[in-house]
Symmetry: C2
Subunit: 239 residues, 2 copies
DNA sequence: CGATTTATTTATCGATCGATAATTTCCGGG
DNA sequence: CCCGGAAATTATCGATCGATAAATAAATCG
C-alpha cells in the first residue's frame, strides 16, 4: 500500500529512494490532471482532496497548483470535460430527420444518449454538481429541453396531426420530460445506486418509448384542446 | 455576523458576555439536534461541520458528542428521521383497494407521495446518501418496488385482463419504474435544481399517469406474449 | 439551605485541507 | 558542455475538521 513516492510532507524515515520525476509536456499534464480529477471527483465528490488526486497521478500535491490557480478552477475544467465535450450535435439533427418515423428516431436517440451518460463519471458528477448548486445543471437541462425535448415534441405534433406551427405548450414539453426523467432514473439506479438491473437498457428504452407514444397521443390532444380558444366548433371537453 | 456566543475556542478578546446556557430535557435536545441536522445536511451535505450545526442550535460543538457517539451516528439518526418516519403504510393499502379504479388509485398515490418527498430535505438527503454509497437508497428503492410498484403492476394486470396470479415479470416491474422515475425527476428538477416549473404538480401527475396507462396496455400484453411458451395456443402459463 | 447529578462550556489535540514560497531537478539551445 | 528557464519537489502556513478531557453551571433531591 504505502508506495511512499509522491507522498505528503510527512517526515518519513524511508531512504531518499530513487524518487524520479518524469517530466511531461504541459498540455499532456493538464489533460491528465483533468482526466484523473474526473475519475476522483466522480467517486468521492468534490470534497476529495488535492493530495489524493496527486497520489493517483504519481506527482506531488503542489504541482496541481501550477496548472490550476485554485481547486475551483480544476472543478470548472472537470465540468467542461464532461458536459461540453461529450454533447453530440448529431442528437438534434437525428431527432429532426423527418424521413424517419418518430419512434425510430426516439429509440436511436435514447440508445446513444444513454450509452453516453450512463457512466459513473457522467451521472455521479452531474448529481454532485446539482447538489452543490452550481448552474451547470440548469444550463445542461436547458440544452436538453431546447436541443432534444422540444424537437421531439414538435415531431410528435406532426405525427399525430396537430398543427406543428403553434408554439409548444409548457404542458407538452413537460410530458416529454417525464419520459426523459424515467429513462434518466434508470441510469441512476443502475450506475449510482448499483442495482442489479434485470432488464437491459435496450429493452427498457423500447418499452418506455412505446408506452409513451401509445399514450401520448390522447393526452397531447387533450392538452391542445384545453388550451384552444373556447367556443370553437367541437369541444373535446377535458375529463 | 460574529454573534460570538457558542463560538469555537478561539481566544477572543470579547468580554465574558452574558453567556447563558439554557438547560433542556435530553429527549428534546436529541430531537432538536436531529431536526436541525436534517436541515443542515440537506443544504450542505454530510460534509457540513459539527460546528455549524452547533451554531444553528445555539450550543457549543462538543455538546453534540454527548448525544451522538460520533458524526456517523448523527447521520444515521438523520436517515431514520427521513426514510422511516415519513413512510406511510396507507400508500400500499390505498393502491391495493380494488374498489377504486386503478387510475384514481395511482393519481391519489402520486399526489400524496410527491407532497411527502418533494421537499429539499427529503430529496437532497436522498441524493447525498445515494452518492455516498450507503445502503439507504438500496433499501428504500426495494421498499418502493415491493410496497408500491408491484401492487400497482398487479392491479394493472387485472385491469387489462391478464392473469393476476402469475408472477410479475421483471420487464413489467421495470415499466412502472420508468413512470415512477419520471415523476421523481420532476421533483428533482423543481426542488434540487431549482427550476421554474411552468406546469404544476397535479397537472404533471395526471398527464404522466394518463400517458402511461394509455400506452401500457399494449406494451404489457407484448411483454406477456414474449415470455409465454412458444407453440402453445393461448397459455397464460408463467415462465 | 447544601450536596449530588448532569447538562453545558472551555480548552485543546491530532489530522487534514487548500494554498504558497523556496528549492531542486530536468531539458533544450547556445 | 554549460546555462537558463521551466517542471517538479520539499517544506510549511493558517484554517478547519472530528473528537476528547477537564472545568463550570444549572437542575434535582435531601
Amino acid at each position: 500500500m504505502a508506495d511512499s513516492r509522491a507522498s505528503d510532507g510527512d517526515s518519513d524515515d524511508m531512504v531518499p529512494a530513487p524518487r524520479r520525476r518524469a517530466r511531461v509536456r504541459p498540455e499532456e499534464r493538464y489533460a491528465e490532471f483533468v482526466r484523473t480529477a474526473v475519475e476522483l471527483f466522480s467517486e468521492e465528490g468534490f470534497e476529495a482532496g488535492t493530495r489524493e488526486l496527486a497520489q493517483r497521478l504519481g506527482v506531488t500535491q503542489p504541482l496541481i497548483y501550477r496548472y490550476f490557480p485554485s481547486k475551483d478552477d480544476l472543478i470548472a475544467a472537470v465540468y467542461r470535460e464532461i458536459y461540453e465535450n461529450r454533447w453530440k450535435s448529431a442528437w438534434r439533427t437525428g431527432l429532426e430527420d423527418e424521413s424517419v418515423p418518430i419512434r425510430t428516431r426516439m429509440l436511436a436517440f435514447y440508445t446513444d444518449y444513454s450509452d453516453t451518460i450512463f457512466t459513473p463519471e457522467w451521472l455521479r458528477i452531474y448529481l454532485f454538481a446539482g447538489l452543490r448548486g452550481v448552474d451547470i445543471n440548469r444550463r445542461y437541462a436547458g440544452a436538453v429541453e431546447r436541443e432534444v425535448l422540444r424537437p421531439i415534441a414538435a415531431a410528435a405534433r406532426r405525427a399525430i396531426g396537430l398543427d406543428p406551427a403553434d408554439d409548444l405548450l409548457p404542458e407538452e414539453v413537460e410530458l416529454f420530460w417525464t419520459l426523459h426523467g424515467g429513462i434518466f432514473y434508470y441510469g441512476v439506479r443502475e450506475i449510482v445506486y448499483g442495482f442489479e438491473m434485470p432488464v437491459d437498457r435496450a429493452t427498457m428504452i423500447v418499452n418506455a418509448v412505446d408506452t409513451f407514444l401509445g399514450g401520448a397521443t390522447a393526452v397531447l390532444r387533450r392538452i391542445q384542446a384545453d388550451h384552444a380558444p373556447a367556443g370553437a366548433g367541437l369541444r373535446p371537453k377535458s375529463g
